[in-house]
Every structure is written in structure tokens, then in C-alpha cells.
Symmetry: C2
Subunit: 158 residues, 2 copies
């Protein structure tokens, strides 16, 4: 690198990152819709991921996702109504309501993982596997290893 770069404007970088994220998520949900999960929203996938196979509670979920327990509870309500989650009582603590995946929820989660892997392979086929890995490594290097902030709607607009 002898001379300086041809001065790329800085504002393009966030736009490209957003576009990349959005492309991936849109492709995922287009495929999920084809596979029997048309009601899943981008947000929901991440919530299912956060609930995991072991289940949690609304408060834990909120902490994990970086949102209030009330907001987490509302989203759980929605996913219960859609048939992806269910609530159960904790036998050891009558205050807690365990949030668990239903079979349908597990199905969606597994399919998401498969599709994400396939999408990453598609990027690798286009760019080369090393470039994708480099992108991941680079992003990890400039990103404060945050524990997943999922308050996107409120953050962006709020």
C-alpha cells in the first residue's frame, strides 16, 4: 500500500453492512416461508435462537436480548400465539414461567440453521471461502463482542 486509498466515502460501509445483513435475512425468510413458516419475522428467528432447546424465562430472555422483560414477554406472547413457543410452570419456583420451544418451534429453528449454513456457502462460492472467513474475522475485530442486542426496531427508530 504505497499511496492512500482512492477515498471511499465512509457512509457506504454501514449501508453495505446493512444490505448484507438484510439480504441474508430476507433470503432466509423467503426460504422459511417456502418450507412452511411464512409467519416468522426476522425478529422471531433470533428470539427462538435465544430461547434455545433448553428453554428460559421471559426475564432471562430479556436480559439475553438486551430488551426489557416486558418486551420479551410480549414477543413470547406472539410466538406462543403462532405456535412456536409454549409456557409451563416451574415446579421449583411458582413465580417463574418457563418458556419452551414447541415441536414447530424446533422445526423452524433447525431449518433456520440449515438455511443459514447454505447461505454462507453461497457467499463462499461467490467470494471464495477465505474471503467470507476474513470478513467474519474482521468484523469480530472491530465489534465489541456484544451479547446480541435485539432491540433493533426501538434502537433504529425509537
Amino acid at each position: 500500500m504505497a499511496t492512500t486509498e482512492p477515498e471511499r466515502p465512509g457512509y457506504l460501509l454501514p449501508l453495505l453492512l446493512l444490505a448484507g445483513f438484510r439480504t441474508l435475512i430476507d433470503d432466509l425468510h423467503a426460504e422459511l416461508a417456502r418450507q412452511g413458516h411464512p409467519e416468522l419475522r426476522p425478529l422471531h428467528g433470533f428470539v427462538l435462537q435465544a430461547v434455545g432447546a433448553d428453554g428460559t424465562t421471559a426475564t432471562e430472555l430479556g436480559q439475553h436480548l438486551g430488551i426489557s422483560k416486558q418486551a420479551a414477554g410480549k414477543t413470547v406472547d406472539r410466538l406462543v400465539a403462532l405456535g412456536y413457543l409454549e409456557r409451563a410452570n416451574d415446579p421449583r419456583d411458582a413465580r417463574r414461567k418457563l418458556v419452551r420451544m414447541t415441536p414447530r418451534g424446533l422445526d423452524g429453528l433447525r431449518r433456520s440453521a440449515v438455511v443459514f449454513d447454505r447461505l454462507r456457502q453461497r457467499w463462499a462460492a461467490t467470494l471464495g471461502p477465505d474471503r467470507v472467513a476474513a470478513m467474519e474475522d474482521d468484523l469480530r475485530a472491530v465489534t465489541p463482542a456484544n451479547p446480541l442486542r435485539l432491540d433493533v426496531p426501538g434502537w433504529f427508530g425509537g
Copy 2:
């Protein structure tokens, strides 16, 4: 590349892209808040960018941003209330209401550009200028050159 990659899970890629975007935007707005623009939300910056120095109308803005004209009008209302935009009548078409930047809006937009450039330089200093450029090129290659979809809150949570 003799063998296959060590199987990185595909779901990390979107998370890293989102984290990168979010880091950039958060840093930008932290700096903007320091420079006298604490009320600007992430969304607002993109809207100002879309309005540009020449101004537009709410309908055009909505088309440009990928949202309805009503949603665009609402956001314009907010930015007018915050002092970043102003409306004026179009002398050639009494239906149209021109949306223009105020001096405050221009100030915010210019500062955003400066901060974005500086943030990109910071990434370049950490990763190397070629890596940042490569990331941009790669993202452009896997992204359908979309004309800026700004319906993020509704898209994500919808």
C-alpha cells in the same frame, strides 16, 4: 485452499454484519450527540441523507426509502419538529410540498459524513485499508444493489 473450512456456522455471519452496522451507527450517534445533535436517531440520519441538499417531496422520499408516502410524511413531521427539515410550497405545483434541509439539518448531515469517514479510517487502521476495501467490494458483490430500504423497524419486527 486444500481442505474445507473448519465449518463455521452460518448464523454467525448475519449477526456479525448486524453488529458491525450497529457499532458504526452507535459510534456515529454518540459523536453526533457530543457535537450538538443528541436527538438524532439512526433512522433520521438516513432520511436526511435521502432528502439531500436539493430537497424532495414526501412521496419521492417514500419511494426512495422504500416506505409508504404516509410513513415518509410522518418522519418528515418529526424532523420538522426537531428543526432539521422544513416544508415549502412548490411554486409550480400547488399540490407538492417541498421538503428542504434547514441549516441545522445541513450541519447534522455534514457532521455525519465527517464522522463516517473517520470511523472508516479507524477500521482501516485496525484491519488495514485493503481489508476494509475488500469487505466493501465483497458486500457489494453479494448484495443486490438495492436502492436503500429504510423500513427497518417494520421489516425486522413487522
